[in-house]
Amino acid sequence: MRVLIVDDSKTMRMIVKRTLRQAGYDSCEVDEAGNGKEALDVIKANKPDVILCDWNMPEMNGLELLQALNGQGVKVPFGFVTSEGTPEMKQLATDNGALFLITKPFTPETFQQQLGAVLS
């Protein structure tokens, strides 16, 4: 399985990778991108099985990335991992096809719950 982590913070990308391992997904291959624009290139090249994406990022934010993928007809399971989780954002995420929204700070159990359904 191949996971793409999109976050402008290297720290958060490391934390997400560590949490994936702690949640039992230690055999997955991980690609990283620092914003939505970079992610589009990585998605084209590496075809990830799932995308874990921050919401607030410079250049192209997570929602814009999801909308760009929708516009290109690219169907990849997509979830937000973000510091904001208001009902409005959750609704916006769902309306655009995101499968889940994980709010920081998160635990390995949260990853298991959300990713388990997607990856099973």
């Binding site: 402008d8 913070s9 290297k10 720290t11 958060m12 490391m14 934390i15 560590r18 607030n56 410079p58 973000t82 510091s83 904001e84 989780g85 208001t86 709010t103 920081k104 700070p105 998160f106 635990t107």
Partner: protein, 160 residues
């Protein structure tokens, strides 16, 4: 708590509650003590700041600690042991910014009843003294996350 407006006090309380959540879940530390809450800027030490702005509010939230404290917070956030080699300055800046980002996300969810239009900015990390403008109000909660002294700062601009 030093004399401050009810509005600012509400923001500071939300920050302290969010700092406890950050410490517990992201840093793995449940021991958080509030030493005091004052209407003052933090002393001359590094600070990660992030804007939280909406139609009713224009606020800067910050996490401030000594250089050693920033190292400790960053290492805990990254799941490292405190006796591991120190992180490079850019790594600390990124980690402290992410800590501020997590804190602000929690505060935003707690403060939606005050302002439902709040939006988060991108965090910045400053090594040096910051000053408030004449028209802004400051609240500082001096807390301890385990043995790490940390300042949690709220700067509210009165101009909209």
């Amino acid at each position: 708590m030093t004399e401050m407006s009810d509005h600012l006090a509400k923001w500071v309380t939300a920050c302290v509650d969010s700092a406890k959540e950050l410490a517990s879940v992201a840093l793995g530390i449940d021991q958080v003590a509030v030493n005091d809450i004052v209407a003052a800027m933090p002393s001359d030490q590094p600070i990660a700041l992030i804007a939280l702005a909406g139609s009713q509010s224009s606020v800067q939230l910050g996490i401030s600690a000594s250089h050693e404290g920033c190292q400790a917070i960053s290492k805990k956030l990254l799941g490292m042991e405190l006796d591991e080699p120190d992180l490079e300055s850019g790594e600390v800046a990124d980690a402290m910014g992410e800590a501020a980002n997590i804190l602000a996300g929690q505060v935003k969810s707690l403060m939606t009843s005050v302002d439902s239009t709040l939006n988060l900015g991108i965090p910045i990390f400053i090594r040096g003294q910051i000053d408030k403008s004449a028209d802004s109000e400051v609240g500082l909660a001096n807390i301890r996350i385990a043995d790490i002294p940390v300042g949690v700062v709220v700067i509210i601009s009165s101009e909209q």
